[in-house]
Amino acid sequence: MKTRKLLLGLIGSIIGLIYLSPFYIIIVNAFKSKKELFQSTLGLPESLNFDNFIEAFDRLDFFHVFLNSLMITVGSIVLIVIFSAMAAWMLERTKTKMSGFIFFAFIAAMLIPFQAVMLPLIRMMGKLNLLNIPGLMFTYLGFGCSLSIFLYHGFVKGIPKELDEAATIDGCSKWQTFWYIIFPILKPITITVSILNTVWIWNDFLLPSLIINKPETHTIPLRTFFFFGEYTKQWHLALAGLTLTIIPVIIFYFIAQKHIIKSVTAGSIK
């Protein structure tokens, strides 16, 4: 028993290292000059030189775009979480043809390739004067609610209907039932939904580039792509920038991950 566990632990560590190796490449190269980067891609940097980070921070206007990204991500997540949870709860609790159809439509939409709706979407967004940050958040809601509703729906199934009824008898309206009872119980799946959507929205390039491509509203990925020029990719800066970009998400993930394990569970399985 003991040796077997040890062996498994060893295998786990090895696989873990393999999974980490790309991150190794990102991080060591973020410390190298461009020349060093091409001379020895795999080796450790000659010195722990933060110049790339400083330059990337500067060129990205990191503080500013970080705030933009943060605002967009948080805003979109709030919209997605609230409206998806609301919809999923109602869809699960209402057993009519209509609710079945709507749910199906949400799921089916996960199969639509974005490229197929890109131009008509942009055209409409322009007509509706939504080529701005609120518009972008709204777009994320439109695209993000499918998976989110799917996950919430599965989780709601596991919440006894009696809780809703108890709340009704205690005197709650539907609205109160949702906010006082259901939404707090959805916390684990809300965290999952937030993590998955954060990972997506935080890193998204295409939608912001189409909807809010103005210097003052740039997000981190939009700026990061300025390191990728017509011919040359400023790898040393891009990797430093990338490191700066993913650190906040990793921190967020670390804080939230205790819950995600329980949650995708409940969301997707039951």
């Binding site: 461009k34 942009i122 580039s209 189409l210 103005k214 792509f225 990728f228 017509e230 011919y231």
Partner: protein
């Protein structure tokens, strides 16, 4: 629309441009211009990440937030965007354009684009290595000369510390399908317009082109020792890694590569120059020089916006301040005349080479903007990859090229 074009009493000029490398300089220019013209507000949007300008521009227009100034690439763009293009033929800079540079954007006497800059490409070589190998670059004029030099270099690989003579990035179909093929086709068609109007491709100089391909491929650095693996060599490997680290002696690239080299090794960048790309038996001692992109003005905008846009471009390319920016900040090779004074000469070694070739008249035009849409990269470039991988003979490639060209022009 008009209301959103002006904020307060300012005229709003939106620029939507593709060249990431020019982003900072353009912003600087805009700021300078706005200082002088407080009634104008210039907003610059740059598309990052490389080659997606076409899609971005389309969605920009689809969104209704049409820019006042944007870029087009050649005859096909001119036709596609014809609804939106302002005639610039009455502008003052037109008279200063070099011969032929306006052809791709001229239709029915109307001129729809202002040249961005000039670019040229050839065989960039490492002077120091040539010296060490005892080769006089001046003497290389013909394909034969080149071939001999290459063979000599190849034989001295070890002592020169070379991995190989060439680095050939066939992964980048624009290098093969556009630039390299241009050497043959510019001689077949003569100019863009002919190419653009031609219903068929004769591929007259197929053999000579094959030699250029073969020479580069045979003596190129192959990652796994097989020719097919050239298809994984990209620009970065070619220029930044192999060439800039002194591991290969010659690469087929343009003056833009200077920036890449200088980032890695400034000394090396100061010590490079350009050999011609000789099309054997046709035109040997010259390099292709052309205009990669044009500025265009959106004709649906208000008159004042259009005027401000024209003024800005005029100022940028013809005023003294503007010229200084173009040369020293943009690091462009100007496509207009009038940059003669000493302080307006490009400093980088490659740009100097292009100008030298231009001045000596040893150039051939760029015609690949006249290829059918995406044909050069998606068809010819892809076929060259097939050829290198051994999945296609050169004859098959030629036949396929003719067929796909004809089909596209049907």
């Amino acid at each position: 629309g008009s209301s959103q074009d002006s904020v307060g009493d300012k005229v709003n000029v939106d620029i939507f441009q593709f060249k990431v490398e020019a982003k900072d300089a353009l912003e600087q220019a805009a700021n300078m211009y706005m200082e002088k013209n407080p009634n104008v507000k210039i907003n610059i949007q740059t598309v990052g990440g490389g080659d997606d300008y076409g899609a971005a521009l389309k969605s920009k227009f689809a969104s209704g937030e049409e820019p006042a100034i944007f870029n087009i690439g050649g005859p096909q763009d001119m036709i596609d965007w014809s609804e939106k293009l302002e005639d610039l033929s009455t502008e003052s800079w037109v008279s200063q354009a070099y011969d032929g540079t306006l052809d791709p954007v001229t239709k029915d006497e109307k001129i729809y684009g202002m040249p961005f800059n000039q670019e040229g490409y050839g065989f960039i070589y490492n002077k120091e290595l040539f010296e060490k190998a005892g080769i006089d670059p001046e003497s290389i004029k013909t394909f034969g000369d080149l071939e001999n030099a290459v063979k000599l270099l190849d034989s001295k690989k070890e002592e020169l510390g070379l991995k190989s003579v060439f680095a050939f990035p066939s992964k980048e179909t624009w290098v093969t399908g556009l630039h390299l093929s241009n050497v043959a086709f510019s001689n077949e068609f003569g100019n863009v317009t002919n190419a653009f109007n031609s219903k068929e491709l004769k591929f007259k100089y197929a053999d000579s082109l094959k030699k250029l391909v073969d020479l580069q491929a045979d003596y190129a650095y192959m990652p796994d020792g097989k020719k097919a693996s050239l298809n994984s060599v990209d620009y970065s490997t070619q220029v930044e890694e192999l060439f800039s680290l002194g591991q290969v002696a010659i690469i087929q690239q343009g003056n833009w590569a200077y920036g890449s080299v200088v980032d890695i090794d400034e000394d090396l960048a100061a010590n490079i120059a350009m050999l011609p790309i000789p099309l054997e038996g046709v035109k040997e001692d010259s390099i292709p020089v052309g205009v990669p992109m044009y500025w265009s003005i959106n004709n649906t905008k208000d008159e004042e916006v259009k005027k401000a846009s024209k003024d800005f471009l005029n100022w940028l390319y013809t005023s003294d301040e503007g010229k200084d920016l173009i040369i020293n900040k943009f690091k462009f090779i100007p496509a207009l005349k009038g940059y003669d004074t000493d302080n307006l000469q490009p400093q980088d070694t490659l740009a100097k080479e292009i100008i030298r070739y231009s001045n000596e008249g040893k150039t051939m035009p760029w015609v690949f903007m006249g290829y059918p849409s995406a044909w050069g990269q998606e068809n010819l470039g892809a076929d060259i990859q097939q050829y290198l991988a051994g999945n296609m003979t050169w004859d098959q490639l030629v036949e396929d090229a003719k067929a796909t060209w004809a089909k596209a022009r049907k």
